[in-house]
Symmetry: C2
Subunit: 417 residues, 2 copies
C-alpha cells in the first residue's frame, strides 16, 4: 500500500487545484501544472459555452520568451471555436475522449487550418499534442485542456502514451476545481449585485444616482491601496453603502428643496444610526465593515462631527476614508443648489479642512493621487449619462425594458410537475 | 507511470469530496469514505474552533444497527473537547501528527476518561484508533478525523501502519474540501443576509416587520413543495422580497393613515414596477425570480389585478404563489385598520376568491395544508414579539446595542501598515 511518486504528485496537485478559489489564478495553475507534468512547451484551456469552445487562457514558453507574457495572452483574446469534430479541441469536447497527435501537420484526420494559420501568423510550429476533456464526475465536459509540443531538451517529441492515464486523473481534478471556482464566483457576484441594489435603493430616495455609490467605492479603494488595505472588494462595498440609512429618513426631510431647520437636521443626521441598525448583527465581515462606515462617515477629525463626536484616530480608518471620498465627490459634482466645483476650488477646501474635517494623512494621499481621483469622476460621469435612471423614466419605459429582457415568464421551466 | 489501484481510489475519492458543496453532506461523505478505506466500524469528525474541538458528525455501524442512525447522531450533539494533549483528538489537533492506537484501554499515555465514560454509557467498546489531522496546504489544522475499531470480519483489530500514508493524503484532500464548503456556505449566508436586509428595508418603510417577509417566504415554500418546486431557497427569497418596490413610494402615500384616493392608489400600485426596476438586469437566477414576483404579486387570477391585468396561467406561477401567501398573511395579521381575522373568516375569504383573486389549485393546496400555514403564523408571532423593531426603538437603544456588540472599531486589525 505504497503511494508511488507520480501518484503522490497527482494527489498533491489535486489538493493544490482545489485550494485555489480565484478562477483566473486556477486556470493558470491548471495549465502550468499540466505542462510541468508532461513537459509541454505550450498549452491552452477552453471552456464549453453552449455549442462553442471559448478560449480561457494559454501559456507558451517559446513565444513568451520572444514576445513577453502579456503579448501572448492577447494573441488569443476573444478566440472561440465552433464545437464540432473538425477541430481537435472540438472533437475532444464532443466525444469526451482524449487525443494524442504526434505530428499535427502530418495528420489528415482533423481540420487544422486554424492552427496552421495561427502558427504562420505567430511564427510558431505546433507539432505534438495531448488534448484532454475536462470532465466532471457527472461526465459533463466543461472544457478542454490542450497541451502542445512535448519537449526533450530543445527537441520537440511526441507526448508519451503513458501520460494518458495520469493526465486523465489530472483533468478530472481540474474539472471539479474549475466548476467549484465558477460556482463560487457566481454566488459572490450575486452577493455583490444584491449589495449594489441595496445601495442604489438608498441613494434613489436621496438625490443621488447609482454612479455616486460606485465613485465613492472606487475612490475609497484608491486611498486604501496607499494604506495597505488588504481586501479591496470589502473596502469598495463597505464605503459604497455609507448612506444606506437614508432609507429610514422621511421624504419631507430627505427631499426638501430648501435648507433644513435645526430640528430637521437632527433627524437627517440619524441616517448614520439607521444605517448602523439596518446592518446590525451581520455575520459577514463585509457587512460589519459597512456598518462601521454607516455609523462613522460623518464623524470629523477635529471631533465636531456626528453622531458621536469622535476625534482623530478614534474614528475607525474606514470611516475617515468614507468621509473624505464622500465630500470630495459631493464637492466635485453638480447639486441642485450648486454647480460642480473646479479642481482648484476642491483643492482649496480639502486643504482648509486638513486636520479639521479630514484626516491630514488622507488629504495628502488624495492630493498625491489627484489625477486618478478626477479620472474616476470623468469615467463615472460618462457612465452616468448612459444610465437609465429611475426618476427620469416613465413607467411605460420601465415596463418595456423589462418585457424586452423577457424576464417576465422566467419561472415556467422551474416547475417539476 | 502506472497508477496503482489504491492511488486511483484515493484520487477518485478526492474528486468526489471536491464536488460536494453542501457541508453536512460532505462531512458524511468524508467519514464514510475514510471508514470504507480503512474498514473502520466507527468514526468522528471534529472541527477546530478557537481552543476547542467541536463535534461535527459521527458514524458507528455497531450502534446504528442497535439504536438507529438518528439516535447515534444525538448521542454526540453539542459535544466539545478542550484542545489539549490530554485527549487523542486534542493531541492530534495541537501537534498536527497522526496517531495509531492499538488498544485504547491499555494505553496510559493519554487521558481517555471521556471515551471510557462514553463507552460505558452507550455499551460500546472503543479499542483501536487511527486519528488524523485535517490539515490544509497551508499547514493549518482545521479539524480531526478519528477512526475507531478496524474490523476483520466481526473481529476488532489494530489499524494497519500502512494505512498511515494513504490516509494522510486522504485527510489533506478532505481538509481542502471542508475549507471550500465552509467558505461557500459563508458567502451564501452573506448573500441571503443581504437580501434579508433589502427586504427589511422595504418593509420598514411600510407598516410591516421583518417577520412578515419571513412568513410569506415560509408559506411560499410550503406551497411550492406541493407543486414540486425545485429550489426552496430561491422560492423563499424571491417571494420574501415581493414588496421591495415600496422603497420608491413616497411616505405621504405609503404611510397615510386613512384610505387612498384613486390618484394615490395609482401611485401606490407602481411599487410592483419599481420593484421590477430595482431588480432589473440581475444575473443570479434568485434575483431574476424576485423580479418576476415583484412585478406579478398583485395580478389576479381573473385578470382584474395590476399592473398588467394578466389572467390565469399567464401569470407566472411564482407570482400566483406570492399573491395568495401575501393576502393570507395580511388577512390573518393585525392591521391598524382591522384585528386579525379568525381562521374561519380567512377560510371564507379564500373560498370566495378561489378562481377570482387566486389560482383555485393554490387555494386547494393551502386549505389542504391549513394547519401548517397557521403554525407559521404562530411561530413568527412569537419571533416578532422578541424582535427589536426599528420604529419602537430610541436612537440611544440602537447606539447601545451597537456598542455592546463592539462592532465599532472592527477595522483596526485590517490595516497592513
Amino acid at each position: 500500500m505504497v503511494i508511488s511518486d507520480l501518484s503522490a504528485k497527482l494527489i498533491s496537485v489535486g489538493i493544490a487545484l482545489s485550494s485555489v478559489i480565484d478562477l483566473n489564478e486556477l486556470l493558470e495553475l491548471i495549465l502550468f501544472k499540466a505542462r510541468e507534468l508532461t513537459n509541454a512547451d505550450a498549452g491552452t484551456i477552453y471552456s464549453v459555452d453552449g455549442n462553442h469552445l471559448v478560449f480561457l487562457t494559454s501559456q507558451n514558453d517559446t513565444l513568451e520568451k520572444r514576445f513577453g507574457k502579456e503579448k501572448v495572452k492577447n494573441l488569443f483574446e476573444h478566440f472561440s471555436l465552433p464545437m464540432n469534430k473538425k477541430s481537435v479541441a472540438g472533437y475532444v469536447a464532443l466525444t469526451g475522449k482524449s487525443l494524442i497527435i504526434d505530428d499535427l501537420y502530418k495528420n489528415e484526420e482533423y481540420d487544422f487550418c486554424s492552427y496552421r494559420e495561427w502558427d504562420r501568423a505567430n511564427g510558431y510550429y505546433s507539432k505534438s499534442m495531448l488534448v484532454l476533456p475536462l470532465k466532471t464526475p457527472r461526465n459533463e465536459v466543461v472544457g478542454v485542456l490542450q497541451l502542445i509540443n512535448a519537449k526533450q531538451g530543445e527537441q520537440i517529441i511526441p507526448f508519451k502514451k503513458e501520460f494518458l492515464e495520469p493526465m486523465r486523473y489530472f483533468a478530472a481534478q481540474a474539472a471539479v476545481a474549475l466548476v467549484n471556482a465558477k460556482l463560487y464566483q457566481e454566488i459572490e457576484e450575486a452577493h455583490l449585485d444584491t449589495l449594489f441594489r441595496l445601495g442604489v435603493a438608498a441613494e434613489y430616495r436621496d438625490k443621488e444616482t447609482a454612479s455616486h455609490i460606485r465613485r465613492v467605492g472606487k475612490m475609497a479603494v484608491l486611498l486604501g491601496k496607499e494604506l495597505g488595505w488588504m481586501d479591496e472588494t470589502e473596502l469598495y462595498w463597505a464605503v459604497a453603502m455609507h448612506d444606506v440609512g437614508k432609507l429610514g429618513i422621511p421624504d419631507v426631510i430627505l427631499q426638501k428643496p430648501g435648507p433644513l431647520t435645526s430640528e430637521e437636521r437632527k433627524i437627517m443626521e440619524k441616517h448614520t444610526l439607521i444605517g448602523g441598525y439596518i446592518l446590525r448583527n451581520a455575520k459577514s465581515s463585509l457587512l460589519k465593515q459597512a456598518q462601521v462606515v454607516a455609523l462613522t462617515h460623518h464623524e470629523r477629525y477635529d471631533g465636531r462631527g456626528y453622531p458621536r463626536g469622535l476625534k482623530g484616530e478614534d474614528i475607525p480608518l474606514i470611516g475617515r476614508i468614507a468621509a473624505i471620498v464622500d465630500v470630495f465627490d459631493a464637492l466635485s459634482s453638480k447639486r441642485v443648489y450648486k454647480p460642480p466645483f473646479s479642481e482648484r476650488e476642491v483643492e482649496m477646501i480639502l486643504l482648509e479642512e486638513k486636520g479639521h474635517h479630514f484626516d491630514p494623512l488622507l488629504v495628502e494621499i488624495l492630493l498625491d493621487k489627484w489625477n486618478s481621483f478626477w479620472e474616476i469622476k470623468k469615467i463615472e460621469r460618462e457612465e452616468q449619462e448612459k444610465e437609465l435612471f429611475l426618476k427620469d423614466v416613465s413607467w411605460e419605459e420601465i415596463w418595456q425594458e423589462i418585457e424586452v429582457k423577457n424576464l417576465y415568464f422566467l419561472d415556467r421551466s422551474k416547475i417539476g410537475n
